[in-house]
Symmetry: C2
Subunit: 324 residues, 2 copies
C-alpha cells in the first residue's frame, strides 16, 4: 500500500482485533451448543436441527456505515432492501429458503418518514424473497444515537431444502462470479473517507450519474441464481471482501485461483482505488469488486452465460486466494 | 403529573409517535404474511407455522439506554444477560422453548474487554435457558457510535410446545404477579435523567447498596415459572410498563383490575418517583413496578405462594387497566 493510501483499518475499522476477540470467546459460545447445532459462528449462517427433522439456517446482519450516506442523502428505502437481501444471501449459501425476517431499528428520535421508508424497503425485499416480516424492535435511544442517526440490524431464519446434498469441493472445480449491484453493504467507512470532500450530487464522468445514487445502490438478492444453478459451495462477498469471504466456502487445503481479467471491475471500484490510492490487497480485502457472490461448481455444471472467474486448486502457499 | 415532574416523553422517548408510524406501515407488513404467519407485529412474539408442523416463535429486542449506565460503570456482563432474558421471556409468553439466539453488537471501535463481558453474559443466560448462541454480527461503525458507545440487539427463535392449549381468558380469572429483579431493561432514559447528578457509587439509604448496582441488576428469566404454573395468558412487562403491556394478553372487551396494595413496590421505583416527582400513570406506564411478568390464571390454578395482584373484569370504561 502506498504510504499515503487509505486502508480500512485507518478508516477506523479493525477486523483483525475482532477476529482475536472472537477466538477468545469461542469456547464460551461452543458451550451453549448442543448436538442440534450443525454449524456455529464462522460460516455465513448458523444451522440448527429441528426436533422433528430438517434444519433451520439463521443469520444476523447490519448495514454498516452505508447508513451515514443514506442519512446525508435522505434516502432510506434502499437501506431496508439492503438489510433483507444481505440476510437472504447469507442463508442462501446454506441452501436455505427464507421463512421470516425480523428487524432491529434504533434511533435517537423516531422520524416517521425514515421509519416508513425503511419498512417500505424491507417489506418489498421480503415479498420478493417470499419471506415474512414477522416482527421487530424499534428503540428510541437519545444519547446513544445523535439526532437523525440510526442503526438497522436484521435477523433471518430459513429452512434448508430437504433435498440439499452438497457435493465435496475439489481441485479443478470452477468459480462462477455473480455480478454485484454495487458496493452492497461493505467498505463504507473507507468509501466515506475517500469521498469526504465530494458532494453526493456530484457526477463523476466515469459513473455517469450522481455519486450518492451509485454508492446507495441496494444490495441485490442472489436467491433465484442459487436456486437455478447447480453448485457445491457459495461465498457471499461481504465484510472482508473477496479475499476474506471466498475461503469460507473452501475446505482446508484448497485455495482459489482467480483470473482478474475474467470480469470487468465496475467504475465505482476503480474510482475508489484511484482517489484513495488504495492497494490491490486492500481493495480485494474490503470490497466485492463487482462480484457479490462466488459459486463453486463442477466443471460440467457451468451455467450458460456464467462468468468463470477462476478455479479451485490445492493450496500451495499461505494464501487461500491467489491471482493468476 | 406535577408541572415540574419528569415524563418519559420529556426524557426524549415518544412511544405514541412510534405507534402512529407503525399503524401506517402495518398494511405493508401484512402483505409479507402468508398463511404461515399466525401472529405478526403486536404481541410479544411472532408465530410462524413450520411446513412439517409445529410453530416457531421469534422476537427481536434491544437493551435500550441501560447500555449508557453500563458504559459509565464499565460493567457489561449484565447487559449480555439482559438481552438474552428479555428475548427468552418474550417468546415464553407464546409458550415457546428457546432454540437459538443471535446477537447484533455495534460499536464505534471494538473494545475486546466489553465484547468479552457481553459474550460472557449472553452465553451464561443462553446456557441457563437451554438455548444455543448460534451466531451474531459485530459491526464497527465509527461515526455512528461515539468512542466507547455501543448497542446490542438480540434475536431469538423458539419452538412452541406442541401440547400448548391455551384456555380462553375470562372475567373472574386471576392475575398473578411474578417479581422482577429490578428495572429490567426499560425506562432508562427517564432513570438517567432522574439520577443525572448522582454518582453511580452513591448509596441511598433506601437502597442499601450503590445506585449503579441496583439499576444494572440484570433482567431475570421467567422460563421456569412459566413452565411450572398453569396459565392462560402472560404479559411481559417491558417498554410501556404495566399499563402498556398487561392489556396485550387480554381479549378485546376485557380489562385488568389491579390491587396496588397486593405487592410491595421495590425501593428503587419509589426513589425514582420521589426524585423525579413522577405521576403514578407515568410510573405504571413506564416501569414494571416490581412485577416483571403477569400471568392470567384460572381461579383454581393459583399456585402456592403466588401473588394475586388483581383480576380480569369486563371493560367498563376506556382503560384496559384499572386500579381497585
Amino acid at each position: 500500500m502506498g504510504s499515503e493510501g487509505l486502508s480500512y483499518a485507518a478508516a477506523g475499522v479493525d477486523i483483525e482485533a475482532y477476529e482475536r476477540a472472537l477466538e477468545r470467546v469461542k469456547p464460551l459460545i461452543a458451550a451453549t451448543h448442543g448436538k442440534e447445532v450443525v454449524e456455529g459462528v464462522g460460516p455465513f449462517a448458523g444451522l440448527y436441527a429441528l426436533p422433528g427433522g430438517g434444519h433451520l439456517a439463521a443469520s444476523a446482519d447490519g448495514v454498516g456505515t452505508k447508513i451515514k450516506v443514506a442519512i446525508a442523502a435522505s434516502s432510506h428505502r434502499g437501506i431496508g432492501v439492503d438489510i433483507v437481501n444481505h440476510c437472504v444471501n447469507d442463508i442462501a449459501t446454506a441452501r436455505a429458503r427464507p421463512l421470516f425476517f425480523l428487524d432491529y431499528f434504533a434511533t435517537g428520535r423516531l422520524d416517521p418518514d425514515v421509519f416508513t421508508q425503511l419498512v417500505e424497503g424491507m417489506t418489498a425485499a421480503c415479498r420478493a424473497a417470499g419471506c415474512a416480516l414477522l416482527g421487530g424492535e424499534t428503540a428510541e435511544m437519545p444519547g446513544v444515537y445523535a439526532l437523525g442517526d440510526y442503526d438497522l440490524a436484521g435477523f433471518i431464519v430459513g429452512l434448508v431444502e430437504p433435498s440439499a446434498q452438497r457435493d465435496a469441493v475439489e481441485p479443478g472445480d470452477v468459480l462462477i462470479g455473480l455480478p454485484s449491484s454495487g458496493l452492497h453493504t461493505n467498505g463504507y467507512s473507507l468509501v466515506r473517507k475517500v469521498f469526504e470532500d465530494v458532494p453526493l450530487g456530484h457526477v463523476f464522468s466515469e459513473l455517469g450519474r450522481p455519486l450518492g445514487e451509485v454508492v446507495l445502490e441496494p444490495h441485490r438478492s442472489y436467491l433465484d441464481d442459487l436456486g437455478r444453478i447447480r453448485w457445491k459451495g457459495a461465498a457471499h462477498i461481504t465484510g472482508g471482501g473477496v479475499l476474506g469471504n471466498l475461503p469460507r466456502c473452501l475446505p482446508d487445503g484448497l485455495a482459489a485461483r482467480l483470473d482478474r481479467k475474467a470480469w470487468r471491475v465496475p467504475p465505482i471500484f476503480e474510482l475508489i482505488r484511484k482517489r484513495g490510492r488504495i492497494a490491490d490487497d486492500e481493495m480485494y480485502g474490503t470490497f466485492n469488486m463487482g462480484i457479490g457472490m462466488i459459486l463453486v461448481v463442477d466443471r460440467r455444471d457451468v451455467p450458460e452465460g456464467g462468468t468463470v472467474i477462476g478455479e479451485v486448486v490445492r493450496q500451495a502457499g499461505p494464501d487461500r486466494v491467489v491471482f493468476r
